[in-house]
């Protein structure tokens, strides 16, 4: 047995290059899968952290409809009544000057840590000098809670924000945060930590946003719920904390998305394995025949190959996990940027490693490689008998027989069903949509062979006999197909993914740019609260001045933002602009009615993510808690709100001021009359005392928005490129296998006097022809992919709708990129034909006979 194994494995020693391909296929496919696991688990761990209050699990919230927020007296009263585990919280979600989200959590660290802790849980040896820094003492506490205060920033976040010790961040909303203190522990996740008293002063609040309930004691929770239900607490609500659920639900679709892409890469990786396995098997035909002649029976040979297969799986698992972890770690910053851009979610830049991935990767490698080598192995064992000569059993036939068309038909029907089914919930619908896409792509790969054979048939039938070279090449394509079709399937998948995703991203970009043009209809914005500032309405150069305000409330446990503008805001009072913001089609003669109803307070608009995620349609009513009690609001229309994952309700400023008098004003919008330049108006504003950091020009906001948008798709681009690279490797393996198998044939062609350049031209022409056919097929498939992404997956994932735009540029760039990869993979093969002497090809032929 040892000799059989030695003989089988000796091939790999002698042909390290080829073994490397096998390993590349296996490792590449597995590594992307592991990388996505690294990303998903790290992100989920970060969400878990985000759902907690500095590592404490928050089960419930005590909220209020009082204008000033939850007063301190209520908090102290509840604590003195025995409800410890209550923590006052003030949260702000702001953006820095570059548009990045800043999650600020302000609480009382003493309340958080000092609630009936069992003293025995606290041990001096547990004291970690890096908890907050190296000099956290009473002095540090005082600088945390006394003016000018300090804001604690985890070091990882500080470096990503390029903030140094002592720096003061100015937010886009116009708040000047206290001096930064960089902390080395990550207890706050990726949040900026402030003292609640300091935050109340900085954000000019008299109360807390809510009291977080960190106690899990059911009896105390029940008592607290009962107490808050009593008339003495009529302005307070006891609600369960849905924030964690919100973030998990929001990002679920993104992670399913990533997983789908990793599975696509795994599939492409399996194609490489298939090709590489075929290659190694072809090469060893002679060895196998010799072994069989020496009396090795099929069972022994099968066992030997199985051991070899297991060795590959183990090596692949180790390298796949290692590379995957490295890759995941390196992709995390892109993912973090994407998740921040999409959801405002913060993901740690330190990757998690889960030991379970080792055995999961092993199982995937075992199953995947088994699937990939089953056919070549069978061919090796049963066709390489002593007397039976090798025949090309894979030779393809023309035309459409039912055995070959049936799987395609089944896959297409399955795809249609999955894409149109109304599954139980959004997550299932999303998985269904991805399943439908997978079926569609698989059907596409099967169609590819059929289409190629159809072109061969066309060539054979219609090409004149005098075009002997072309006719020969067409016939040759048919002979090559069994060996190269799998590689072209991989190229097809990569092309479809590139075209589809590019179309989707470009459509999204166009819709986003269009939307932001209408949404930011004013020329200059002054952000932040305006109670301290006054801008005269007759400021020269300004045609109109509009005020806006914002308030965050809770609705069914979810955080909802109320956004209000006055009647001067051009985005809402101009029919043309407004109609571009509305997500559904409203007849043009009704638009003005809808607008008027809204301005008179007869109803509200909601953003389309609210509509799609919560199933609220125009015409329905929603009930909101206001300072005067519960009020019903009629939903008039839904508005596009790209880039926002929070639920938002739009209402006129006067309505907001009546029902939520505590609402924070969020700034002005200034429309210029054209008589003065933007710069001169900005200068006037500064002269009026408006801080420069609170003034934003429209172009500046658009630039920041565009940067955020581009950052959002970093990970998509990265995964797309990786898939294409893997497909390129697959193609290289396939071409080498093909060349190996045809070495005798190449030798014969050279022997009969065919010039090497003619042979290379012919080989390249057939390759280019197959690629062209693959590319042409990829166009409709890519378009369908983009359609599914926009019409199904985007809506399910984000709740955003947009038109799908046909863009030749996306298709051409994907084609050029794939063509480039193809040429790169063909160069070594063609180089061999050019350089290797005739005897090499004749000698090689004996191995594969």
């Amino acid at each position: 047995m040892a000799i059989i194994l030695k003989t089988l494995l000796s091939y790999h020693w002698r042909n390290l290059g080829q073994s490397l391909f096998l390993l590349t296929g296996l490792v590449a496919g597995l590594a992307l899968w592991v990388a996505v696991q690294v990303i998903n688990e790290t992100a989920k761990s970060s969400y878990q952290q985000a759902s907690q209050l500095l590592d404490y699990q928050v089960t419930h919230l005590i909220t209020t409809n009082l204008p000033q927020g939850v007063p301190l007296e209520v908090y102290a009263r509840l604590r003195r009544a025995g409800y410890d585990g209550l923590v006052p919280v003030l949260e702000r979600r702001l953006r820095d000057s570059k548009g990045r989200f800043l999650e600020i959590i302000a609480t009382d660290l003493f309340a958080l840590g000092g609630s009936s802790t069992k003293s025995s849980d606290v041990k001096t040896e547990d004291i970690d000098p890096v908890i907050i820094g190296n000099s956290f003492s009473g002095e540090a506490w005082l600088s945390f809670i006394q003016p000018p205060y300090s804001v604690y920033i985890p070091s990882e976040l500080a470096s990503s924000l390029v903030v140094e010790e002592g720096d003061q961040i100015v937010t886009r909303e116009g708040f000047l945060l206290p001096p930064s203190h960089i902390i080395t522990n990550q207890q706050g996740g990726n949040k900026l930590i402030m003292d609640v008293g300091a935050a109340m002063a900085v954000f000019n609040k008299d109360g807390f946003d809510y009291i977080a309930v960190t106690s899990g004691d059911q009896r105390q929770l029940a008592l607290l719920a009962g107490l808050l239900d009593s008339p003495a607490f009529e302005n307070f609500q006891f609600v369960s904390n849905a924030e964690a659920l919100d973030l998990t639900q929001l990002t679920d679709s993104f992670h399913i998305n990533l997983t789908a892409m990793s599975l696509l890469s795994l599939a492409v990786g399996l194609f490489i394995i298939y090709n590489a396995a075929q290659f190694s098997i072809l090469y060893r035909r002679a060895s196998i025949r010799t072994l069989r002649a020496c009396g090795v029976n099929l069972a022994e040979l099968g066992f030997g190959l199985a051991v070899e297969y297991l060795v590959w799986v183990i090596i692949g698992t180790i390298f796949g996990c290692g590379l995957g972890y490295w890759l995941g770690n390196n992709l995390l910053p892109s993912v973090s940027a994407t998740l921040n851009g999409l959801y405002g979610a913060s993901v740690s830049a330190s990757a998690i490693f889960n030991i379970d991935w080792l055995w999961q990767t092993f199982l995937i490698a075992f199953a995947g490689m088994g699937l990939a080598i089953a056919v070549p192995m069978r061919s090796l064992l049963f066709t390489t008998s002593i007397n039976k000569p090798f025949t090309n059993q894979d030779e393809l036939t023309y035309g459409a027989n039912w055995q070959s068309v049936l799987p395609i038909a089944i896959l297409l029907v399955l795809a249609w069903i999955l894409l149109n089914s109304n599954l139980l919930n959004q997550k299932q619908a999303l998985i269904g949509a991805f399943g439908g896409l997978a079926a569609l792509l698989l059907a596409g790969t099967l169609i590819l062979s059929k289409v190629l054979m159809w072109f061969v048939w066309l060539g054979k039938t219609f090409l004149p006999n005098s075009w002997y070279m072309t006719r020969w090449l067409v016939s040759d394509i048919r002979l090559q197909l069994p060996r190269t079709r799998i590689a072209f399937m991989a190229i097809l998948l990569a092309l479809v993914a590139n075209i589809g995703v590019n179309l989707m991203v470009n459509s999204f970009r166009a819709a986003f740019n269009d939307w932001i043009d209408y949404r930011l209809a004013a020329d200059i914005y002054v952000v932040g609260e305006y109670d301290q500032l006054v801008i005269p309405k007759n400021l020269s150069g300004v045609a109109a001045l509009s005020l806006s305000a914002q308030q965050t409330i809770r609705w069914q446990g979810h955080s909802i933002s109320l956004r209000a503008v006055d009647s001067q805001d051009p985005a809402y009072n101009d029919i043309g602009t407004f109609s571009r913001l509305v997500a559904e089609t409203i007849p043009s003669d009704s638009i003005a009615d809808v607008q008027e109803q809204w301005f008179t307070g007869a109803g509200v608009f909601i953003n389309e993510q609210f509509r799609h995620k919560q199933g609220i349609l125009p015409g329905e009513q929603i009930t909101l808690d206001t300072s005067t009690g519960s009020e019903n609001y009629h939903v008039l229309a839904t508005l596009h709100d790209y880039g926002n994952t929070k639920f938002q309700i739009y209402l006129p400023l006067k309505t907001l001021k009546i029902y939520w008098p505590e609402a924070n004003s969020s700034g002005w919008a200034l429309m210029l009359d054209g008589t003065r330049s933007e710069l001169s108006v900005i200068e006037k504003l500064e002269n009026l005392g408006v801080p420069a950091e609170r003034i934003r020009s429209q172009s500046e906001i658009k630039r920041v928005a565009s940067t955020v948008f581009e950052r959002t798709f970093l990970i998509t681009a990265a995964l797309n490129s990786l898939t294409l690279i893997i497909a390129g490797v697959s193609m290289l393996c396939a071409l080498l296998a093909l060349q190996m198998e045809r070495s005798g044939f190449i030798g014969n062609l050279l022997s009969i006097g065919l010039h090497r350049s003619e042979l290379i031209t012919g080989m390249f022409a057939t390759l280019l022809f197959k690629f062209t056919v693959t590319f042409i097929l990829a166009i409709p498939l890519g378009y369908i992919l983009a359609w599914v992404l926009i019409e199904k997956i985007n809506i399910l994932s984000f709740g955003w709708t947009m038109p799908l735009l046909w863009q030749a540029q996306s298709i051409i760039s994907a084609g050029l990129l794939s063509g480039f990869v193809l040429i790169l993979s063909a160069i070594p093969v063609l180089w061999l034909v050019r350089r290797k002497p005739l005897r090499h090809w004749l000698a090689m032929a004996k191995y594969t006979r």
Partner: protein
């Protein structure tokens, strides 16, 4: 669990102003920090009541401290400890009304810590609470007296006549895998005992001192809850009040403190400050009070007392002297001190041993083990 540990630990560093570098070495270093800027303890100062029952935010550190030895109807023994600590993190007095905590001042330089413990004959359970000053979550009112942190409170009972300190109600409860609680009423018929010279209690030869008064003759009745089971109890308690800006001299490592209710009706308080003298020799500053049944006090002087460690035990990596011989021949006191059980260590960030002790007559200890008193012992500053 580690996560839960981190936050209190961090806060511990805040509360006690302990530089982190000192954590692994000496967690008691803040007790030796120079008092500069804080109010000084003066020997000619007269304590005034009820004002001095309240807080003194101009001093660095202060505590309200109750220990009780209790018995149920079956004669089973329980111990209860409740301590409220206040610390001022800077010499500047906060603008808030720290006495009542009525005015909110989020920037208060005052922080509060409380320890509660219940001990039965086999087990010791202890908990802590922390709170910032200035927001009403914790504080002390002098009149009517009330000391609280959340719902843990020691205060004059509502049934008290308007100006009386007593009866005092002590209440705390914990849900810690089973409920633990104390709801006790404390009464006293004797006046407060001003330790040292009219409450000026010297701690070292170099002048470290505190203001220190006690009420050793508190009668207790009420209920405790042990692992969810209510138990009616009666017994004796001891109230201590102390405040200072630098309780330890630089060469002092800590103290051993005893409070004993003797069967003959006397109450004995003794402490020895441990210090390193010249040539690295162990030296002690010993002082105490012997309080008669009627409340009259005699100061115990250093050369009148013999304090001898009989055995030590290693707990929480610290070698602790848990058995003692106390002899004050002048007052016919010759006692062997033993803990109710050894495991009464409070292993928090500021670790100390605080627990129930029994006093036996040393003369016939080996033969009869005749118990002649009970009380509490505190061993502070052992590393």
């Amino acid at each position: 669990m580690r996560i839960l540990v981190l936050m209190p630990t961090m806060l511990a560093m805040l509360v006690w102003d302990i530089p982190v570098q000192a954590q692994s070495g000496d967690p008691y270093v803040f007790l030796r920090n120079a008092a500069s800027g804080y109010a000084e303890v003066l020997s000619d100062h007269k304590l005034e009541f009820p004002r001095d029952n309240g807080a003194h935010p101009e001093f660095r550190i202060e505590w309200w401290y109750v220990t009780a030895n209790l018995q149920d109807v079956d004669g089973s023994h329980y111990g209860v400890q409740w301590t409220l600590f206040r610390q001022s993190l800077s010499p500047l007095i906060s603008t808030s009304d720290e006495q009542g905590g009525e005015k909110s001042d989020w920037g208060s330089n005052q922080v509060w810590l409380a320890h509660a413990a219940i001990t039965n004959e086999k087990l010791h359970r202890h908990w802590q609470k922390m709170a910032r000053g200035g927001i009403g979550q914790a504080g002390v009112d002098a009149q009517p007296f009330s000391a609280w942190i959340d719902h843990w409170a020691l205060g004059t009972s509502l049934s008290s006549r308007s100006n009386d300190l007593y009866p005092l109600d002590l209440r705390f409860s914990i849900n810690d895998n089973g409920e633990y609680a104390a709801n006790l009423q404390l009464t006293a018929g004797t006046p407060m005992v001003l330790n040292g010279l009219d409450g000026y209690s010297q701690k070292s030869a170099s002048g470290q001192a505190s203001y220190y008064y006690s009420q050793p003759h508190l009668e207790v009745s009420g209920q405790i809850v042990w692992q969810g089971e209510p138990v009616m109890v009666t017994g004796q308690a001891w109230l201590d009040r102390e405040w200072s800006s630098q309780p330890l001299a630089e060469n002092q490592s800590g103290w051993d403190w005893f409070s004993l209710h003797l069967d003959d009706g006397r109450a004995l308080m003794l402490y020895q400050m441990r210090e390193i003298g010249d040539e690295n020799k162990d030296e002690y500053w010993v002082s105490g009070s012997l309080v008669a049944k009627n409340g009259s006090k005699i100061n115990i002087l250093q050369d009148e007392v013999q304090l001898e460690v009989l055995t030590t035990k290693t707990l929480d990596n610290r070698e602790l002297p848990l058995r003692w011989h106390v002899s004050i021949p002048k007052y016919d006191i010759d006692l062997t001190i033993e803990p109710l059980h050894d495991q009464q260590f409070i292993s928090g960030f500021l670790p100390y041993w605080e627990g129930v002790i029994f006093a036996f007559d040393s003369k016939d200890y080996s033969l009869l083990r005749r118990q002649v008193g009970r009380g509490y012992m505190e061993l502070m500053g052992y590393n």
